[in-house]
Subunit: 517 residues, 2 copies
């Protein structure tokens, strides 16, 4: 039994997509790439260093299983035990790996096509804390938070997937964490989800859960709607042993793999930004080669996530100008390689959804988007350089991302938009464009109207209570979380999951009127 | 007698500029242009429409004086009384007008070079209201506000000029408004200033004041540190008669002229963005042709400022994605023409320095900057789509602009930044870059540290009071405005100004301890 009627949803999805591309000013997967922080020759120089790093330095601490596969494919292990990647092998993998694939939603209406240059935005992260909605104070995040954020994201048009953004601190073992994270994401949204699996046992454990939601054994593989986030390296240039095991298991299970290299410039990556970009590219490509060796049809995502250190303190700064540059340059390098990719943006250093948060999110997300990132992760909800999250931010960021995606859509230059006749008619006629047919026609196709941003006059805004954006967002959070309890997992499927897994989230928490919101 | 020792200041300015380019991560006039919303052929199509609009439609309501000059230069007036600009004349003016010039500060240390592609950021606007610092409520803006904002701007590194941002509502006549605005700007900052003169009488009236501050009769013309903001058109395609008189007077006085065409897409410019860009370019070029006819050495600034209407209400939306696109595309067109230019950005629709304001400022300013605008106006301090301003925002925006300018600086790709050896040494050695000489070397040259943005951990921030960015900015506003009273206008000069002009701002208001702050 299918938890979801796939065919009807596909049809609905297609109709929705067609309708939206006809009338909506923005849609998922628009083409970015008009911002090019690096010149062609600069990208080629970076690429030359990437190949040199993989061939002449390599990565340490590969697992025995992956070492055997890699050596069989042409790699070799040097005297220091480092796995070296011949240039030709790396270039072959870049040439033959998947250039695009469908990132499936749980509901096919949320399927998106991941390819270089096609811009999408969504969540990500592993924040250990959340700003409690009611008290406004940071506290440890829980499974229930994961579920609530999923429900919120489910209603946000410009958040194209839900990759778990907080760590469920109310679990006791890695296995319980991974099972409950997967369950909370699955049950709170019908968008594509992702979980960070650091252990192959976790991957193997959740496959039956994913199959059950997909409609039966083997069904998940047909439409893999859960991505494995794999931090397969510990920068600089070292494999993360357990994550490599998880990677191997996830590729074998047919999961899309987010191949994350998260060095920190000045600490675990060079302080010189160009070097940090090159190291990240090399580290991710090392993972991509391994994935392709395991399965040439793998769905690998080139996730160069070099972060920034504030060199005064060593602390991460997610909202800095340097971070915006690193992410944009990495998106451009992924375009150079023509690979489905991900970069981080929107990781404000601010602990509140305030002016600092808005500014830092505004320029980091827009530069990543215009550089053509296929997936912008951490793009909604994050606070405190990924150390926290807040409910209000998902709603606020969704609104901001919409406006940024409108800029990605760009300016249509055509006979129709340039028409001399329209201007002449207005200038020699009424003297204004308010009533012109072109104005009416363009109103819906070219102009995006925000859900939160306040455009009223100062006096109208004062008369309505002079509220700030955060306050307005709180209303929306409360409304959605009070009423939106997705029911795409049928009751019998859910019962089976609860029979077979140690599910912490009470079933009673999953219906309106449970007293929490 | 010079109010300022120019030679010493020039020397200090040059030394400062040299020092800063050596060590500081950002400086005024860095090269933008890596974001190109329009393709080359799209720019050529827009340009073709621009020439067609000027030649085949022209502008109405030119003044008799400018009409006579323009006809003598090759324009003609059609049967409907519209001034038509032959293509060859327009192209000649584009080819021969100044490609760059110095926008002088009152203190030469603040001189900047205005040319296509070299990015600068500063204030602008004509807000009729200000959020009172003490009550937090909007009220009518005054001469004292103009002076206080000038003092604040004087201390903000990333606000490169002070173009008056509010209207002094406590003046009774146009002449008093213009005189007092000029005086308040002049006395509150040593940066370059600008005032919107809508009347030739105002221009002629303030020249003796500008000369007095410059050091004597005829001295202002040698270093014209006050720009005339000229809204010389009433879009669509109509000259603003009185502003054209002011333009003529200002060019004759040697003032830089900000040639502003501020149509509103959907109301006074086409709703189709490409058409709005073309109309703005045509309207500004009409003004630039006239300026060049008056004086081939004029300092004209191509200020295409098409605004956006929210087509549901007709109200302006300064923070929209469409606005970001219009400004970026106009900056790119100015680059196409290779003209010193200005576009607006940072004009949030929000009435508060909140998350909405930050987000809207973040993406509009960064896209304008990366499109290579030479002057980004309204870039600091504005609220409510230019209808208001707030003291806090100047401080907050200055911080945000710094980070954005850091992204404009870009990524250095060189042997030094790419060095394989650094990565190899770290990977085979200590395993981290924290103590590497490259990290220390790059710390000051490549990394910008904000003044307001909070980068502390969540717990450190909580321990320090869990304040938001606006609250932190308030401290800085209060500190600067309580102590920073510039004294570059000597007392005897000021006395002479007060003898000759109806100066509203009391002299007693211009010293610390006056009880206001």
């Amino acid at each position: 039994m299918l938890a979801i009627d796939t065919r009807r949803s596909v049809r609905r999805g297609r109709n929705k997509a067609e309708a939206s591309s006809a009338v909506r000013p923005i849609s998922p997967g628009m083409f970015g790439g008009r911002y090019r922080p690096l010149s062609q020759s600069e990208m080629e120089r970076i690429h030359a260093l990437v190949l040199q790093l993989l061939a002449d330095l390599g990565l340490s601490q590969v697992t025995p299983s992956l070492e055997a596969r890699a050596v069989a494919a042409g790699c070799h292990v040097d005297d220091a035990g480092r796995l070296r990647f011949p240039r030709a092998l790396v270039e072959d993998v870049i040439a033959r790996t998947r250039r695009k694939f469908t990132l499936h939603g749980i509901d096919p209406a949320h399927d998106i096509e991941i390819a270089a240059g096609r811009v999408h935005t969504g969540t990500g992260g592993a924040a250990p804390t959340i700003m409690d909605f009611h008290s406004g104070k940071y506290r440890e995040s829980t499974v229930a938070d994961l579920y609530d954020i999923a429900r919120l994201v489910d209603r946000m048009d410009n958040i194209h997937w839900y990759h778990r953004s907080v760590v469920a601190r109310d679990t006791n073992t890695i296995l319980d964490l991974d099972i409950n994270t997967t369950y909370a994401c699955l049950s709170g949204t019908t968008k594509s989800i992702a979980v960070s699996y650091t252990d192959s046992a976790s991957v193997r454990a959740v496959i039956p859960m994913l199959d059950a939601v997909a409609g039966g054994e083997g069904k998940f593989r047909e439409r893999p709607f859960c991505t494995a986030v794999c931090c397969h390296v510990v920068p600089p240039m070292r494999f993360a042993t357990e994550s490599c095991d998880a990677l191997e298991a996830a590729v074998e299970a047919g999961m899309p793999i987010l191949l994350v290299a998260a060095g920190q410039a000045g600490a675990t990556a060079p302080a010189a930004l160009a070097g940090a970009v090159a190291q990240a590219c090399a580290e991710v490509l090392a993972g991509l080669v391994l994935c392709n060796i395991i399965d040439p049809n793998c769905r690998g995502i080139f996730a160069t996530w070099p972060f920034v250190s504030d060199l005064r303190t060593g602390a991460m700064s997610g909202g800095s100008g340097e971070q915006a540059l690193l992410s944009a340059a990495c998106a451009q390098m992924a375009g150079f390689y023509d690979l489905p990719n991900s970069v981080p943006a929107g990781m404000t250093d601010s602990k509140l959804p305030d002016m600092q948060a808005g500014g830092e999110k505004g320029y980091t997300i827009s530069l990543a988007a215009h550089a053509g990132a296929s997936m912008i992760h951490e793009c909604a909800g994050m606070q405190g350089s990924l150390m926290g999250t807040s409910f209000e931010s998902y709603v606020l960021d969704n609104d901001l991302i919409g406006a940024i995606l409108r800029t990605v859509k760009g300016i249509e230059v055509s006979e129709d938009t340039l028409s001399f006749d329209v201007i002449r008619d207005v200038v020699l006629g009424e003297g204004h464009y308010l009533g012109h047919p072109q104005t009416f026609a363009r109103m819906k196709t070219d102009y995006l109207y925000p859900g939160i941003a306040d455009r009223r006059s100062i006096s109208a805004w004062e008369d309505a209570g002079a509220r700030d954006a955060r306050d307005v967002a709180r209303d929306k959070v409360q409304k959605i979380l009070g009423e939106h309890y997705p029911s795409h997992i049928a009751e019998d499927v859910d019962r089976k999951l609860r029979d077979n897994f140690n599910i912490i989230l009470p079933r009673t928490r999953m219906f309106a009127g449970n007293g929490t919101w």
